[in-house]
């Protein structure tokens, strides 16, 4: 009994202390008794209407405006009591799990107001909009795909949260509730004859469904990605894989580019006929470094947008462009093939034209008739083995100077060669 009494007393004591500290925090501005949010509303009259909305943020409802705002001064916008990226997590700390495999960008950046109204909203959880329309505000590409898809995926119609978590996922990429294929197989049976027939008896029950299927719906039957590799579309899997009954049925028949060469011989012969190859094409991953073997949202079965695919290896180029004062449009737009050949070339850097001046001139037409003397006959004063071209002054992937020049144009660029004018 005594122990029970002690525990009860201890809990009571803690309750008194915590309520005291709460009162203290609320009273730090020495408001008149009972004033609280009412004081704020005397000026912020528009809030009267806002508070009539069905879902009101708890501190707002309680009139504790000073939980989030400092009524006197602040180093943050809207007189917030802390950095906007941190303030919500003061109360909602459990939003992000300790070891999340994927985190919603807005959540990671603390940009909660992208989805939630911090005061009051028409929708549950103070969401700005209801259902998928909120998500589609940012995920426009997916929105367009969903809208235009002839074959819908039912869970998408029900709502993004059928498959995704809103804030973070502990166990899966893309905020998925579970990894693929276990998420898919929670609805789709894989042990029935229909599944086997659709997959030409290949044992794909544990394969990654999204290597062929667009989970958001598609205009291709079977919600395959928009661009399907011809053998997949024709269900001729055995062109690349051993027979479905084989113990290695899901492995490729031949390694690397040797497999692809069987059908794409013309392209391969042309590729191998040039001096310089894009080396990943002949490594152990080969064509699949850049191309999806089954289906893809992208043209040419690229694994992602060209910018993403190229930058996955050429991160230094991406960094250079990001920090460049002047942006080079093809790089920023992910059009690497405007200047480079992706498979092979006779030229260094896999350039697409024997002449740099002509290559640049294909976009910058004016360069051909109005520029500093350039061309094969104009020797670079800094190096007798080089002639002047566009790249003598410009670093095509970007620099810290305007027009991506190698040097500060006013002070250091011209005097590289015109040394007599050096100050």
């Amino acid at each position: 009994m005594r122990l029970r009494h002690r525990i009860v007393l201890l809990l009571l004591g803690l309750a008194v202390l915590s309520s005291g500290s709460l009162a203290l925090s609320q009273d730090q501005f020495r408001l008149k008794p009972g004033a609280k949010g009412k004081v704020c509303l005397t000026c912020h009259t528009a809030f009267q209407e806002k508070m009539k909305l069905p879902f009101v943020h708890t501190p707002v409802k309680a009139g504790n405006c000073s939980d989030c705002h400092n009524p006197h001064t602040s180093s943050h916008g809207k007189l917030l009591a802390d950095d906007p990226s941190r303030i919500c997590r003061k109360c909602h700390d459990g939003i992000l799990p300790g070891k999340a495999k994927s985190v919603h960008k807005a959540v990671g950046e603390g940009n909660c107001v992208k989805c939630h109204d911090p005061h009051a909203a028409k929708f549950k959880n103070n969401l700005l909009q209801d259902g998928n329309s909120l998500c589609f505000n940012c995920h426009k590409g997916i929105a367009e795909g969903v809208k235009g898809a002839r074959f819908k995926h039912n869970p998408v119609e029900k709502g993004c949260l059928s498959c995704h978590k809103a804030h973070a996922s502990e166990g899966a990429d893309f905020l998925l509730k579970a990894g693929v294929p276990s998420l898919c197989t929670s609805c789709h049976r894989t042990d029935g004859p229909s599944f086997a027939k659709q997959h030409v008896n290949y044992p794909v029950a544990r394969s990654r469904c999204t290597s062929c299927h667009d989970p958001h719906g598609s205009s291709q039957a079977g919600i395959l990605w928009q661009n399907v590799h011809s053998p997949v579309a024709k269900k001729m899997c055995s062109q690349c894989h051993p027979d479905p009954g084989s113990p290695d049925a899901l492995k490729a028949k031949r390694p690397g580019f040797e497999l692809c060469r069987g059908c794409h011989s013309d392209m391969m012969n042309e590729t191998f006929g040039r001096n310089r190859i894009h080396w990943p094409l002949v490594d152990h991953v080969s064509c699949q470094n850049c191309h999806a073997p089954h289906a893809s949202r992208q043209d040419a079965l690229l694994r992602g947008p060209m910018k993403t695919v190229c930058n996955s290896c050429h991160q230094d180029v991406a960094r250079r462009q990001e920090t460049s004062v002047t942006k080079h449009k093809p790089i920023e737009g992910g059009e690497c093939t405007k200047c480079h050949r992706p498979h092979s070339s006779d030229l260094v850097s896999l350039l697409d034209n024997t002449n740099v001046i002509n290559l640049c001139g294909s976009c910058h037409e004016w360069m051909k008739h109005s520029s500093h003397p350039i061309g094969d006959n104009v020797v670079d004063q800094r190096n007798r083995n080089l002639s002047l071209d566009c790249l003598s002054c410009h670093r095509s992937h970007g620099s810290e100077f305007k027009d991506f020049t190698y040097f500060n144009a006013k002070m250091d660029l011209c005097v590289q060669c015109h040394t007599g004018f050096k100050r």
């Binding site: 040797e258 001096n275 002949v282 152990h284 290896c313 991160q315 260094v348 800094r382 083995n385």
Partner: protein, 302 residues
């Protein structure tokens, strides 16, 4: 007062000795010489490979001209010695001296390693024999160690092949599971193999008879852009050519960053899109300065 002074003087000295990265000597590269043209007087074009025979000859893979150029090293200077083109070697990208005499060169177009004499006569292709499956070999680079064994960076099958001087299979070391793309390799006097990962910006290594390739350095992406060439000196120091950044990064024998030398530029001493490099026991660094159409020599200063 004396004890305080003693502490002030002794502590940094002891600390430096105890900590390898602090105690390491600073290395500098002093430009020594450049070669702009071959023995025919033809300007070099996009050279990508260099090798030194340890005595007096420098071989250059004059890639853009499809030639091998030889230079005699005289003091700190270079004198064009010979140059030759072969129909079997139209696009040389790597070159090595064979300790038994002759030269081996990798053709970037056919991706075959060609044997030739010092006079430029074709002696055949390196034909690896006894290789375990997969039998396809695509060399990205190769090195010959002091015993004449040929180490081939086989990117197709994801391994380093070690062949005896005749091309007979000795052993293979598979690439590690996690890596970006290996562009070059180097072998030190103890048989340790070093690989440079251009994408991950780090160095991997496999000691002597190791069966696995393991990370040797941390990621160096803060200090370099896209390394494509690697060399190791007699003291175990690693030299990396930073192709897209125009420079040379030096690592200590423990893989720690020891500095960055040279820089992007056109004038002697500077580099544009450099490729392979080689370090001699006597402290000279040779580098194929691809974007500047030349080869440069640097003296390593302790």
């Amino acid at each position: 007062m004396r004890s305080v002074l003693r502490f002030v003087v002794l502590f940094p000295a002891v600390f430096c000795l105890a900590h390898p990265s602090h105690g390491a000597e600073a290395l500098k590269l002093r430009p020594a010489a450049s070669a702009y043209s071959d023995s025919d007087g033809k300007p070099l074009k996009n050279p990508e490979g260099v090798a030194y025979d340890g005595k007096s000859l420098l071989a250059v893979a004059d890639t853009g001209n499809g030639k091998i150029a030889l230079y005699a090293i005289q003091g700190e200077g270079l004198k064009p010695h010979a140059s030759f083109a072969l129909p079997q070697l139209t696009y040389p990208i790597r070159v090595q001296f064979d300790p038994q005499g002759g030269i081996l060169a990798l053709d970037g177009k056919t991706r075959k390693i060609v044997r030739l004499t010092l006079a430029g006569e074709f002696r055949g292709y390196l034909d690896p024999s006894g290789i375990p499956t997969p039998g396809t070999v695509v060399p990205r680079s190769f090195r010959i160690d002091g015993k004449g064994n040929i180490h081939v960076l086989d990117v197709f099958s994801g391994r380093v092949l070690v062949l005896d001087p005749s091309g007979k299979f000795q052993r293979e070391i598979p690439f590690p599971r996690e890596h970006g793309f290996f562009s070059d390799l180097a072998v030190d006097g103890n048989g340790t193999v070093f690989l440079v990962d251009s994408v991950g910006g780090r160095v991997f290594s496999a000691r002597g008879n190791a069966k696995e390739i393991a990370p040797f350095s941390e990621s160096l992406q803060e200090d370099l852009n896209f390394p494509v060439g690697i060399a190791v000196d007699g003291r175990g120091r690693i030299y990396l050519s930073d192709q897209n950044g125009g420079g040379i990064v030096i690592l200590g024998p423990d893989g720690s960053f020891r500095g960055r030398q040279s820089g992007m530029g056109w004038k002697d001493g500077l580099l544009r899109y450099p490729s392979a490099l080689h370090v001699s026991d006597s402290g000279t660094l040779f580098i194929a300065d691809r974007g500047n159409n030349r080869v440069q020599l640097f003296t390593i200063i302790q």
